[in-house]
């Protein structure tokens, strides 16, 4: 028998003490000591919430196995903590913020609704143009629209101009006509097999046919059409109107389940829209959903409205041959005219089997006699036209087009990390359009394959094993491309493995062409890793000598799951990993991501902004942030502005630094007789004194902004960085509560929060220091190098450190008075030093650079 794992023990030991605020509900004349006790309880809750949010984010990494029960319990825990937090603030402020409860209930109701499997109607507009969509917009516009927009945004490929009528519009259509109420009993009967899908469908479709489109939706669609017409330079454009339902074009294709209209005059849009909605509830679609395990509550239809492409030729590309996934070939089928007959399997077509590797050799080709083609009718709609005999036997794609298609297909596959089923068209100006990209289902027996893998893999020589840190899991193979200088990036070939000494944000430029990344130096929490994760490129960093052991052009397989690098390409391993259902496709992952939006996102960034109010809180994180801000304000207000408790001394610390810090002394933390203006030498509090000494150590508080290469940094990033980097130096006031052996320091520098809590006296056993840093970045995956720098320095100085996203928590305890004071001194220097570093942390190299600079500073004489 082995002992329970350490994780289990950690779990079991986790205290679930409920924090009580009984004492405080007393009169406003309550002593500061009691108020401060409340304040500390609020902070404890605040920390637990932040850690809980970070923990939830971790679960999305793919390393964890979690279930619905976890999501239920963690949401409940979050709600309990936030609820207590609000009670705490209201106790502290004597009920000033009761309206936070309304915000809490509003958010919590949304979360509960998500947990019950009733997706919350997405907020936003009724129509959105493709230019403003990407794959994260799936909830709003369905996967088909979202993937298409992503292909344009992320890969720069051409797609038809157009917009999506959103799922929000669908919900307003359904509500406006009171359809849900009528549908529920039918769904129920269908679910319990008291009604066939034909009967259910017939009833529902009849109601939808009789329903009215809300006038606001009509107006919005009309406006979008006008805008589209302007872009296209045509007063009445012809459109392709395509379904894009929730779940469609994910792992479940729903292929051919819903209506599509081709070459419809713009005037017909609303009529067609309603028909697509009707097709949502066709009997075959309902059956399909039942088989695939979708509930009828998970139904929402978005509709894509696209400029009709006048295709000279159209076709379908499978990036892998589904019948022979090991063979390393892709399939292309193409015919003259529009692609619909081909997709429906009703037309003769040219077939190609092409190697998946550059230079994309053609294995097979068969050119069919394509006697008919589907064309656009001048008056709208489509018609079959006879193809002239000489043209009928001609290949409908040129060699150059085939090459371009092959490259494009692999690019899309590499981006979505799964084999693709791509519909394309070539217009009369020979422009290639992507019309649709969705996962290709490959039927292989994964169980058998998996078990054969260890035997196959062991035949390949292992170059690295267990060296470095995995920054992004996955499997990738290709030729080694070693980068010495940034100029080399222009030569980077599609599908190569990027090998470099350091990580650099400039690699973002070639990330889409990369099958894997290996670096000698680097950290798994750096920005490089963030980008690798965003694009799911298998990445191992800090391998020490990858650039030396690997040769330019050498074929290797990177297994960033087992932390191994093999010589050669292990096709079986690649096929296996490509056919793996991505965790992103599981319901639980989607659900966790959805509830995290209500829990973990931070929208309230600026405490001086007008919307820094309870009713603007959209997430639990917002509430937590709000409460923290107001709790600090409350203490300062009571003790500094209106000195309630005559047993405390309060004043402003006078420093040569631009730092506004108010000290509240509970007992013997300041020299006798000091009032309002406090100089460092007045501080008797052991931890506070040491900290302030560190803060003002010469050289620590850099006033010279170091050179900021922000422009190039931002342009090398692939997505926009949404936080205000131009944060004001000082928003609001900072506060420290002290006594002789104790200090609690809360500092807000820019949008970053630092909190230090320390106790130092002669008794070693009770000595401790707690340091917490939280960056004000909105998204969990925008991890900060600054966090890593802080962690490095703190670890070097014997702190126990946890980094989760941009939350850094460090602890140290039970050291002698003198050593504890040096640690507080160090924290002072660190806070001053790292205050404005994040914009300068251009690459992972800077982490080391600034760690060294810091160490020099500490060695230098004070």
């Amino acid at each position: 028998m082995i002992k329970p794992s350490s994780k289990t023990i950690r779990f079991l030991n986790r205290t679930r003490k409920s924090i009580s605020f009984r004492k405080l509900m007393a009169s406003p004349r309550v002593s500061f000591t009691i108020l401060f006790e409340t304040f500390q309880k609020i902070l404890t809750l605040n920390n637990r919430i932040l850690e809980l949010i970070a923990g939830m984010g971790d679960k999305l990494s793919g390393d964890y196995i979690f279930d619905h029960h976890y999501i239920d319990t963690i949401c409940q825990e979050a709600a309990d903590l936030v609820h207590q937090l609000i009670i705490g603030l209201n106790a502290l402020s004597f009920g000033k913020y009761n309206d936070l409860m309304a915000a809490f209930h509003r958010i919590n109701d949304d979360i509960k609704q998500e947990l019950q499997g009733k997706p919350v109607i997405p907020k936003g507009d009724d129509t959105i143009f493709y230019d403003f969509l990407n794959r994260d917009s799936e909830e709003m516009v369905g996967a088909k629209n979202a993937n298409l927009a992503e292909v344009k945004h992320a890969l720069g490929l051409t797609i038809p101009n157009g917009f999506a009528v959103t799922t929000r519009a669908f919900f307003s259509f359904m509500h406006y006509n009171r359809l849900w109420d009528r549908l529920d009993p039918i769904f129920n009967a269908f679910h319990h097999e008291e009604m066939t899908s034909e009967e259910a469908s017939a009833q529902i479709q009849e109601w939808i046919r009789g329903a009215k489109i809300p006038s606001s939706l009509k107006k919005t669609v009309h406006r979008s059409l006008q805008q589209l017409s302007k872009v296209l330079g045509s007063r009445s454009p012809y459109l392709a109107i395509r379904s894009s339902a929730w779940g469609e074009d994910t792992q479940a294709s729903f292929a051919g389940q819903y209506h599509t209209f081709l070459n419809e005059p713009a005037d017909n849009l609303l009529k067609c829209y309603q028909k697509v909605i009707e097709s949502t509830f066709s009997s075959s679609a309902m059956e399909y959903r039942r088989q695939k395990g979708f509930s009828e509550n998970e139904v929402a239809m978005s509709v894509g409205c696209q400029a009709m492409v006048n295709a000279k030729a159209s076709g379908v590309l499978y990036t892998v041959d589904p019948m022979a996934p090991h063979e390393d070939v892709m399939l292309i089928t193409a015919a003259w005219g529009l692609g619909a007959p081909l997709v429906e399997g009703r037309a003769q077509a040219d077939h190609y089997r092409i190697s998946r590797r550059s230079p994309y050799k053609r294995h097979d080709e068969s050119i069919a006699c394509k006697a008919e083609r589907l064309s656009l009718k001048d008056t709208g709609g489509t018609e079959y036209i006879k193809v002239p005999e000489d043209q009928a036997r001609q290949a409908c794609l040129t060699d150059a087009q085939l090459l371009k298609l092959a490259e494009t297909g692999l690019q899309i596959e590499a981006h979505f990390k799964t084999p693709q089923d791509i519909e394309f068209a070539v217009d009369h100006e020979e422009r290639l359009y992507i019309l649709q990209a969705r996962p290709l289902n490959i039927k292989i027996n994964r169980s058998i394959m998996a078990r054969e893998l260890p035997d196959i893999v062991c035949k390949y020589p292992v170059i690295f094993h267990g060296k470095g840190f995995i920054a992004q899991r996955g499997i990738g193979a290709g030729k080694v491309f070693i980068i010495d200088q940034d100029e080399d990036l222009d030569q980077f070939p599609q599908g190569a493995i990027l090998v470099a000494k350091h990580t650099s944000p400039r690699f973002a430029k070639v990330i889409r062409k990369t099958n894997g990344i290996l670096t000698d130096v680097g950290s798994p929490t750096g920005h490089m890793a963030t980008i690798a994760r965003e694009f799911r490129v298998p990445t191992i960093v800090n391998m020490q000598n990858a650039t030396q052991l690997l040769k330019q052009g050498q074929e290797i397989t990177v297994d960033a799951e087992e932390n191994k690098v093999y010589e050669g390409t292990i096709k079986e391993l690649l096929t296996y990993s490509m056919t793996e259902e991505p965790i992103e496709e599981t319901y639980e992952y989607r659900l966790l991501k959805r509830v995290l939006k209500k829990i973990g996102l931070l929208n309230l960034l600026d405490p001086t902004a007008k919307n820094f109010i309870p009713s603007a809180c959209q997430t639990f994180h917002d509430i937590t942030r709000f409460v923290h801000e107001k709790a600090v304000e409350e203490l300062i207000h009571r003790e500094y502005d209106h000195h309630h408790d005559t047993n405390t001394t309060t004043g402003k610390l006078k420093l040569a630094l631009p730092l506004d810090l108010i000290l509240i002394d509970i007992a013997d933390g300041l020299a006798k007789g000091v009032k309002h203006t406090i100089l460092p030498e007045h501080i008797l509090s052991l931890p506070m004194h040491a900290f302030v000494e560190g803060l003002i150590r010469p050289g620590a508080w850099s006033t010279e902004p170091m050179s900021v290469d922000l422009g190039s940094f931002m342009s090398s990033m692939t997505r926009t960085f949404s936080t205000g980097l131009s944060a004001p130096e000082n928003i609001g006031r900072n506060m420290a509560v002290i006594s002789k052996p104790y200090a609690h320091i809360g500092l807000r520098l820019g949008y970053h929060f630092t909190m230090i809590d320390s106790y130092i006296d002669e008794n070693w056993n009770s000595n401790y220091a707690y340091f917490r840093f939280l960056g004000g970045v909105t998204e969990a995956d925008k991890r900060s190098r600054r966090a890593q720098l802080l962690a490095n320095i703190l670890v070097q100085n014997d702190f126990r450190v946890e980094v989760r996203g941009d939350l850094v928590v460090a602890r140290i305890k039970k050291l002698s008075t003198e050593i504890m004071q040096t640690k507080l001194h160090l924290l002072g220097v660190l806070v001053a030093f790292s205050r404005q570093l994040d914009v300068q942390m251009l690459s992972d190299q800077h982490i080391q650079l600034y760690t060294d600079t810091f160490n020099q500073l500490m060695r230098g004489s004070a």
Binding site: M1, I2, P4, S5, K7, T8, F11, L12, K59, D63, Y64, I65, F66, D67, H68, H69, Y70, T73, R446, S447, A450, R451, L453, P454, D455, E562, Y576, E580, E581, I583, T586, Y587, E588
Partner: protein, 137 residues
């Protein structure tokens, strides 16, 4: 890996997602895996053909995990049982170990954590069989 030498693992969890995620992760390590979301079916299968390793949830409808593992231990005392549960308390952990459980994990867990337990179990199983265990990679 040779069929007769391979280790067979039964996974029982009433949440399909756990089975769905565990199965490929374990198969990739060369284990033969069968998954169940109903304890009755899992037990029927176990009676028919015992497994070397059982991974089971605790709280389930019908036969719960505690009952299931005691049945398993009755049929095949050498089977190594790993409990995975979202309701981890000191009591359930103690009770599980009293029942002769090999390892106990609180959900959610990292794939690496459960693999560690399985590899330890595999070493014991192979020792018993008189084989040398493959190097745990």
């Amino acid at each position: 890996m040779d069929q007769k030498n391979s280790i067979r693992i039964l996974v029982l969890d009433d949440e399909p997602i756990v089975c769905k995620r565990l199965q490929p992760a374990l198969e990739k390590k060369g284990y033969e895996v069968e998954t169940f979301i109903r304890s009755e079916e899992a037990l029927r299968r176990f009676v028919e053909h015992p497994f070397e390793i059982v991974i089971t949830d605790l709280k389930m409808k019908g036969i719960d995990g505690m009952q299931f593992l005691s049945e398993v231990k009755k049929i095949a005392p050498d089977t190594k049982v790993i409990v995975i549960t979202g309701f981890a308390t000191m009591e359930t952990a103690k009770e599980s170990f009293r029942q002769g459980v090999f390892d106990f994990l609180a959900k959610p867990f990292k794939i690496g954590e459960i693999l560690e337990g399985i590899q330890k179990a595999e070493i014991k199983i192979r020792e018993r069989r008189g084989e040398t265990a493959p190097s745990a990679n």
